[in-house]
């Protein structure tokens, strides 16, 4: 049982990362994805990957799997026919939402498609009050009548969300029981199980999305499990969640909504591990693909969790890493708008026809085309020689924009890079300055196919001093699967002032969460020596409605604990908003407990430092346009796989590898560290 395997199933490729626990060897394998049934591509990837290293499925000690099944089903509206039971008077809440229109100025913008049509949204007499007491008892007969009516509609899933269901679960529990009697085969989601937090619309939306995706996820997991059993897998596979951790298949099938944002989360986990190994606890991750860039901030090696996000117009309350996405990637299309300014994205050329330089018929220049014109990307062939490109076509397309702008073609190509870099910088400001962090205190970790290509310019735009390019930027998500722990998040609302009276309720609140965590540890088979629990409390000044999360010191809850919470809250408020209010009462809102089951992770061994001279890795030299010189500058080209620890590259230079290209600007150096990461720095 020496091999560990991570499988990241994306839209085009399924990346497989194998790690030998004994030797520390990493093997990467790629197969084409099979979007009609992703489990086929995954199983094939596992089988082929194992063949590469000459191992059997039965020898695998761990299989972690990242999937976009839930996300894609939501985007493409391929969930099941879903019914909904709500408190009388509120059947349209799902449609009204927060009553804002989808776009302030564009009157043709649409609201997201309703996941439950109005005739399948049934209301029953029942009402709880704001303190959880019963105003109107649940009318069980009326409920049964509605459930039977829905049974005739052939629904496959049913969501239940009552007002204050998170405070008093009694009515939702009763509803669950009735539904189980009447519709035993239907997937049921209740709001107190899925998102036990206040604000009814967001809780309702989350519960409905969970129901809508439930049967899709169940079916997928069943199929994948069967296939993996067939090839002789002996261990229980794990699946990623939006919080960056993995969970067992059973939990994932019950709470598919928790995996909806899992895509980019393992990339962040991998970045975290690499940052730690390379000695950079404070990093901003920069993951650039074809259509979008994902960015996240890690302070002291930790990425904050956020409780809510908007996924294609559907608000979702679930613990997820605070990752911000912007529609700027290699395929983003550049155009001159009616006011004469150069704009890039959010429209993207996609994989087909792709950028102009692919020669597949596209004529609108993309960011990739600009890079081909500038020759930062190889102007003859890319993807390690797998694909020929047509620089002449790219030049023509950029020239057309240049004519409109009254600039020359090179200035325009460089302009496309400047504009897309500004869009990316905007995304980074959201997760840094807007959260009270100065990007200059952070290193930029660049990955994804196009991250390392833009990282140096982005770092300069934000005055960031260092850029880290990991060894395998294109498959970091698969690697991340081998570096993550099992993880579950538990929360309970406890609205009360931070004072003596709260000591008891907080103590019992955390005890409750610990019981839930203990059950989960049991279910996942995590032994006591591998259990880690971290407590945090969400707090605010009494009267505010947005909370800041503060770590709870270990040990029993005492006055000292509360003192530490108060100090922690004030520090966080000061950082975020620039002020504290002396003597203002502080309110506790939500108690949270993160339970982690520590798994053995891939470990990387430091390699011996060799000489500074990188010339053994130089494979070519080409003219690369540099904005600093306003001209082409002769630049050496190195191949990544021959760079050795200790090598120092002086910019301008280009480093090529199969899955990415790194640009080193004229006043920068690139140093290979003992783990073969490439560290770019501005020359002193």
């Amino acid at each position: 049982m020496t091999w560990r395997i991570g499988v990241d199933s994306g839209g085009t490729f399924t990346d497989v990362c194998l790690f030998d626990d004994e030797t520390g060897k990493v093997e990467i394998w790629k197969v084409s994805s099979t979007p009609d049934d992703p489990s086929r591509g995954i199983t094939q990837g596992v089988v082929e990957g194992l063949e590469q290293v000459g191992a059997e499925a039965s020898e695998l000690g761990f299989l972690g799997h990242g999937t976009t099944v839930a996300t894609n089903a939501l985007i493409e509206l391929r969930g099941v026919k879903t019914g909904l039971i709500v408190s009388d008077g509120f059947r349209d809440l799902l449609e009204i939402g927060r009553q804002k229109r989808p776009n302030l100025y564009d009157m043709f913008a649409e609201k997201p498609e309703q996941l439950v049509s109005r005739d399948l949204r049934r209301q029953v007499p029942e009402r709880l009050k704001f303190d959880g007491t019963v105003d109107v008892p649940l009318d069980v007969d009326a409920l049964r009548t509605e459930v039977r009516a829905l049974a005739k509609e052939d629904i496959k899933a049913l969501a239940v969300c009552f007002l204050y269901g998170f405070l008093n679960t009694e009515h939702e529990e009763m509803a669950k029981k009735v539904i189980a009697e009447e519709l035993p085969d239907v997937f049921v989601s209740t709001s107190h199980d899925v998102a036990p937090e206040f604000r009814e619309f967001e809780r309702l939306s989350t519960t409905v999305v969970n129901a809508y995706l439930g049967p899709v996820m169940q079916r997928y997991i069943r199929r994948l499990k069967d296939r993996l059993d067939e090839i002789g897998l002996k261990i229980a596979p794990q699946l990623t969640q939006s919080n960056g951790g993995v969970i067992g298949f059973d939990t994932a099938a019950d709470l598919p909504v928790r995996t909806v944002l899992s895509g980019p989360s393992t990339g962040v986990v991998a970045a975290q591990a690499i940052g730690k190994m390379a000695g950079f606890p404070n990093i901003i991750t920069f993951d650039v693909g074809g259509t979008s860039s994902d960015v996240a901030l890690l302070q002291n090696g930790v990425c904050q969790l956020t409780g809510e996000a908007d996924v294609h117009g559907y608000p979702i309350k679930a613990p997820m890493l605070d990752i911000h996405t912007v529609g700027a990637g290699g395929g983003s299309i550049a155009h001159v708008d009616t006011g004469g300014l150069l704009k890039v994205g959010p429209r993207s050329a996609g994989a087909n026809p792709g950028p102009v330089c692919y020669g597949l018929g596209s004529t609108e220049p993309t960011v990739t085309d600009a890079n081909i014109v500038l020759q930062t990307l190889n102007p003859v062939e890319i993807l390690g020689g797998r694909m020929k490109v047509r620089r002449d076509l790219a030049v023509e397309s950029v020239q057309r924009l240049a004519d409109k702008l009254g600039l020359d073609v090179m200035e325009t190509a460089q302009g496309i890079i400047s504009v897309v870099t500004a869009n990316m910088a905007k995304a980074i400001r959201v997760i840094s300055v807007q959260r009270g962090h100065d990007p200059r205190d952070y290193a930029l970790m660049a990955f994804g196919g196009a991250g390392p290509l833009h990282a140096a310019r982005l770092a300069r735009e934000l005055d960031m001093g260092k850029v880290i390019v990991p060894l395998t930027p294109g498959t970091l998500c698969a690697l991340g699967l081998l570096l993550t722990d099992l993880r579950a998040d538990f929360a309970v609302s406890r609205l009360m002032p931070l004072g003596c009276e709260a000591l008891g309720p907080v103590e019992t609140g955390y005890a409750e969460l610990q019981t839930q965590a203990a059950d989960w540890f049991d279910k996942e088979g995590i032994g006591a020596d591998r259990q880690v629990m971290t407590r945090t409390a969400d707090m605010r000044y009494m009267g505010q409605n947005y909370e800041l999360s503060v770590a709870v010191p270990a040990g029993p809850i005492t006055h000292d604990t509360f003192k530490a919470l108060e100090a922690g809250f004030e520090a966080a408020h000061k950082q975020r908003f620039g002020f504290v209010v002396e003597g203002e009462p502080i309110q506790l809102v939500t108690l949270r407990l993160e339970a982690a089951g520590i798994v053995k992770k891939a470990q990387f061994a430091a390699q011996e430092i060799e000489g500074e001279d990188p010339s053994a890795a130089q494979i070519d030299s080409r003219e690369v346009y540099m904005a600093e010189a306003k001209d082409f500058v002769p630049s050496p080209v190195y191949t990544r796989d021959r760079l050795r620890p200790g090598n120092v590259i002086h910019g301008p230079a280009i480093v090529e590898q199969m899955d990415t290209t790194t640009v080193i600007l004229p006043d920068m150096t690139g140093t290979v560290d003992p783990y073969l990461n490439l560290i770019l720095e501005v020359k002193a």
């Binding site: 009553q99 100025y105 009157m107 947005y546």
Partner: protein, 541 residues
């Protein structure tokens, strides 16, 4: 002229400016205390250049653009430039002396200095839900009038002024905390602008600001030039829950090349809080024209340059001192309907039917056990107009407002009210080939005695349809004794129930062209009744 600057640097600096106003907006919402700001987001943030032109506005409430247009000129009228110092913070709310549009919208403006030179202004406005239960015969009844005054002088709080202000407020604790959140938003802006100027040089930032305004102007001119020259007129009725009589509003929009003139006419100003100050009229025009012509035009001062807006002085659409203005949004919403109606003639197939045309306000106030006053204000959306290619959106805010609702679970925790129903209203939408959006019914139960005020319109008139589409149903109320249209302030008894129904949106196109399956779906979903399906769509059930 200014420093020459290339279009790429303009775009790069423009992105940074947009980041700044968005960050201000988030900070304001998250640090604030009153439900109207922290949950309903009834606030806006903006950045101005040194001459007082809008550079950048966060996408919150278009109506607030009115306050933004007026405030810096009002400050500069009262204070000499050399007397303005770093750390000064100006506060204003008056429609006549303060550049604002109604008294609850309090504006805070802080000058931004780089190397001792004024380079711009950080400005935000927040709707303080206070000054409730007031008369509206004239502005002196509507609350405390504040001309531009320094709340802070060189960073030092003017506590005398603050005490004076808070004493005039019904909920001083909220006011103080919300002001603090407004302060922190502006402080962030000043800091970020200082950093930005340090990076690019203030010359370049200012030049980019100028270029961004020129850019918005060019886009606006390009869009106007695409409209056939001519004059396009439209009339509509304006009424309100407070006043029985309906008033006639009219606009003549003249397009000439790349310029547009919007000439309004309406009745003389009234003794009631329904009058529009000129900047409110401007905000309504800028919003509507941009939304039809090109939603992507940056909302800065440049977009206004090709537009001329007039209305006779002393009328409800261009009122003079001392007309009351508290409920100006109602008339401003009708201005958006007028402009949409006229532009529909200029650009057939590009404009939707009338939306609910309201910003229906429900205000509750009372006194708690401790003797403290509480005030709760919310606004309720309705139907959106049917589009030329799609049904209208149901249960949304239209036009100059876009505030969130307050979650029921937050509302009932803070105020002695219970929300019994919050739903879409069957048969409320205008029928058509494309159906309008549905209006909202919101039903409250007062748990304690309190006073209730409703501010709505479309009581006698209805949202109109286009191209053969039918009109939608209007606003009505029910206090437990049947449907009514009109109500002033009403004292609610504990346990009393109030129901507010807001209008739907007008329909687009002849109803006979609506596909039968769409009619059947509406029927199955209960959006229309069997009667309506038969009478309007001729569907036999």
């Amino acid at each position: 002229m200014s420093t020459p600057i290339d279009p790429i640097t303009v775009e790069v600096i423009g992105s940074a400016l947009q980041s700044i106003v968005e960050e201000m907006g988030e900070a304001l919402v998250r640090a604030s205390y009153s439900t109207n700001i922290k949950e309903r987001r009834d606030c806006s943030t903006a950045l101005f250049d040194h001459r007082g032109n809008t550079l950048c506005q966060a996408e919150h409430i278009p109506m607030h653009l009115g306050s933004f247009l007026g405030v810096i000129p009002a400050i500069l009228e009262r204070f000499e430039l050399q007397d303005i110092a770093p750390g000064d913070v100006f506060m204003a709310n008056d429609a006549y002396a303060g550049g604002a549009t109604h008294l609850p919208d309090i504006v805070l403006a802080e000058p931004i200095f780089v190397d001792s030179t004024l380079i711009g202004w950080a400005v935000n406005t927040a709707h303080h839900s206070d000054f409730a239960d007031r008369g509206h015969e004239h502005i002196y009844q509507e609350g405390l009038r504040i001309p531009p005054v320094r709340l802070y002088r060189k960073g030092e709080l003017n506590t005398d002024l603050q005490s004076m202000f808070l004493l005039n407020c019904q909920v001083p604790r909220e006011r103080l905390s919300d002001l603090r959140a407004q302060m922190s938003a502006n402080r962030l802006c000043v800091q970020r602008m200082t950093d930005l100027c340090a990076k690019y040089g203030s010359d370049k930032v200012l030049a980019a600001g100028d270029a961004l305004q020129d850019y918005a102007e060019r886009k606006m001119r390009t869009a106007i030039a695409a409209i056939p020259d001519g004059t396009y007129s439209f009339s509509d009725a304006f009424d309100s829950n407070q006043r029985a009589e309906a008033m006639a509003f009219r606009v003549d929009i003249t397009v000439e090349g790349d310029q547009m003139r919007l000439a309004f006419d309406g009745p003389p100003q009234v003794r009631g809080g329904l009058n529009l100050i000129y900047t409110s009229l401007l905000a309504a025009c800028y919003f509507t024209v941009k939304s039809v012509l090109d939603p992507t035009i940056l909302p800065n001062a440049g977009l206004a340059r090709p537009l001329t807006v007039t209305a006779p002085k002393g009328t409800i659409l261009n009122c003079e001192h001392p007309a009351a203005v508290d409920g100006r949004i109602a008339a401003a919403q009708r201005v958006t309907d007028l402009v949409y109606g006229a532009l529909a003639k200029a650009l057939p197939g590009k404009v939707m039917a009338a939306g609910n045309g309201c910003c229906t306000g429900a205000i509750f106030n009372g006194t708690d056990e401790k003797g403290d006053i509480w005030v709760y204000l919310e606004t309720i959306g309705g139907g959106g107009g049917a589009r030329p290619s799609a049904d209208g959106l149901s249960g949304i805010h239209v036009g100059l407002t876009n505030t969130s609702n307050l979650p029921v679970e937050a509302l009932e925790l803070e105020y002695p009210l219970t929300l019994l129903r919050y739903e879409l209203v069957d048969d409320s939408a205008g029928s058509g080939e494309f159906r309008g959006g549905m209006g909202i019914r919101r039903v409250y139960r007062a748990e304690k005695a309190c006073r209730f005020t409703v501010e709505g319109s479309r009581v006698g008139s209805n949202p109109w349809g286009l191209e053969g589409g039918l009109e939608a149903d209007g606003t009505h109320l029910d206090f437990g004794d049947g449907r009514t249209e009109f109500a002033g302030m009403v004292d609610l008894k504990p346990g009393q129930i109030v129901s507010i129904v807001t209008p739907g949106g007008g329909g687009y196109g002849d109803p006979s062209k609506r596909p039968e399956d769409a009619v059947r779906r509406d029927l199955a979903e209960g959006r229309i009744s069997a009667d309506l399906a038969k009478s309007v769509y001729n569907l036999s059930v």
